[in-house]
């Protein structure tokens, strides 16, 4: 007799779930190594489209877009992590105070509003206050949008750290600042890392908000890919997609390893 954990049909559905999730990605990955200029026929294994990504006619445009994406994601994720850490310390360690509920709702606001609505609202806002849309507007929009994503893992980690560590440090004549820097911050590090990674990937991946607030002539990698795909899926897009896929997998693995390491310490 099989245990209570077993349900017939659940394994096939799980496999189906994975097939659905992976089939398109694997197909595109495979075709990115296609030697033919046609996206339909298989012309043997080749790296020509990867060479094309870096040296081809579109290399300059995509290179600039990738650079914009990367620098925006770095700055947005870093500032969002700092802001979210301060907010998490207040929300988790600050006890009860007036306005706590409202603060919690405000921090999570970007998660509750549909992305397309945030995008529209941001465009209206930047236009109304007379800011020219471009690099700067993408950056601030991403920063605000990333805060709740950084906040969640940091707050979760902070909840697991008992006050006794800090108290012990204070008992041993550490100043508040020392107790924070030498005790609390290292304990919080895994949360900071996963919060930052999540914010970084959210910014790097964002298409909808960026598309609204980017202005003319400004591109990030997703908007450049979108523009190119509108004219049909070309092989170099598949190579770029595979490269971005590799970056994502690298990040999940990093986040996974950091989390696992974090679980071993208190």
């Amino acid at each position: 007799m099989k245990g209570v954990r077993y349900y017939p049909g659940f394994l096939p559905l799980t496999v189906l779930c994975l097939v659905i999730l992976y089939a398109p990605l694997i197909v595109v990955m495979a075709y990115s190594f296609n030697g033919s200029t046609s996206i339909t026929k298989w012309g043997g294994f080749s790296l020509r489209w990867y060479v094309d990504v870096f040296t081809g006619p579109d290399a300059g445009r995509f290179g600039q877009a990738a650079w914009n994406s990367l620098t925006i994601a770095l700055m947005a994720a870093t500032s969002a992590t700092v802001i979210a850490t301060a907010a998490a310390l207040a929300m988790v360690k600050g006890g009860r105070f007036r306005g706590k509920g409202a603060s919690f709702a405000l921090i999570n606001l970007p998660l509750m509003v549909p992305e397309i609505v945030t995008a529209v609202a941001s465009l209206i806002f930047f236009t109304a206050i007379g800011l020219t849309t471009g690099y700067g507007t993408i950056l601030v929009a991403h920063m605000a949008f990333c805060i709740p994503f950084a906040f969640l893992p940091i707050a979760a980690r902070l909840e697991g750290i008992e006050g006794s560590y800090e108290q012990a440090a204070r008992d041993l004549y550490a100043t508040r600042a020392q107790a924070f820097r030498l005790i609390l911050l290292p304990l919080l590090a895994p949360g900071l890392a996963s919060g930052w990674l999540l914010a970084f990937i959210i910014s790097l991946d964002d298409f909808i908000i960026t598309n609204f607030v980017k202005g003319a002539g400004m591109e990030t990698l997703p908007t450049a890919i979108f523009g190119s795909v509108k004219q049909g899926i070309k092989p170099n897009i598949m190579a770029i997609s595979t490269l971005m896929l590799a970056v994502s997998v690298l990040f999940v693995t990093a986040a996974y390893l950091i989390n696992r390491k974090g679980q071993k310490t208190p």
Partner: protein
Amino acid sequence: MAGGDTSWRPLARPLLIPAWLVIGIFALLPVLLMAVYSFLTKEFRGGVIWDFTLTAYDQFFITRGLFGDEAAQVEWTYITIFGLSILQAGICTALCLIVGFPTAWFIATRPARTRAVWLFLITIPYWVNLLIRTVSLKFLIRDNGPLNEGLMSIGLIDGPLPLVNTNLAVQLGLFYSYLPFMVLPIYAAVERYNFALSEAAADLYASRWTTLREIVLPVVRPGIVAGCILVFVPALGAFLAPDLLGGAKTFMIGSLIEEQFKGSQGNWPFGAAVSMILLSLVLMALLIYARAAAREGER
């Protein structure tokens, strides 16, 4: 001064100031401004004139004929787009639940070592760029794409299945986009589930499926509801799947909104009004969820 103060309480509000400022100015204020814009007059070539009017909402719900001189009637165009979007998002949520729950259950009941691997496999697509995933799906299911070629080569079909530009393709895209959002919260709930409850039910001669219906589902319900919200809300306002996989007949709310802000054909107040209506629907869904969660907490 051993045993010094470790209270963060006096610092709580100062520490929240940056978050208040950034989210307040760049997320809350824009939404409020958008609400104001939905009551303004449209200007040609995009933008607005600061004259307050209900034109945008009127245009959404009511038609007065092509030249505006006929009797007012209900305008069905936009209501139909909303209806289709709600239907698509609803079907997507149901499909995600049907595939997602068994997946989450299966993963949560693996031994710790293999569970991490399964979970890792589910998490990867969740982190891969949604645009790239949607483009990949389009590549796979297009008329002369690998799926159709494969099916034709094994003789299952004679001509390519016309998938792209149909509601079915959009549905497939939505389902594929948001499936991980369903699996992860249900997984978290099942992982905390006390299997002794199932054992007890089995001891009392409940069948497997009765146990699932009567014991498991009520206990893991918060995870299921969270998963449904996480799928339904973004699916309702989805832009990429309908835009890339659909055509003119599969117009959803996201595309309707986007169209109002592109180029000189746009209508900003109308776009803002459509966004407001979408936002109200979503907030209503979240409110129902919050109340259900609160009731759950009381029990």
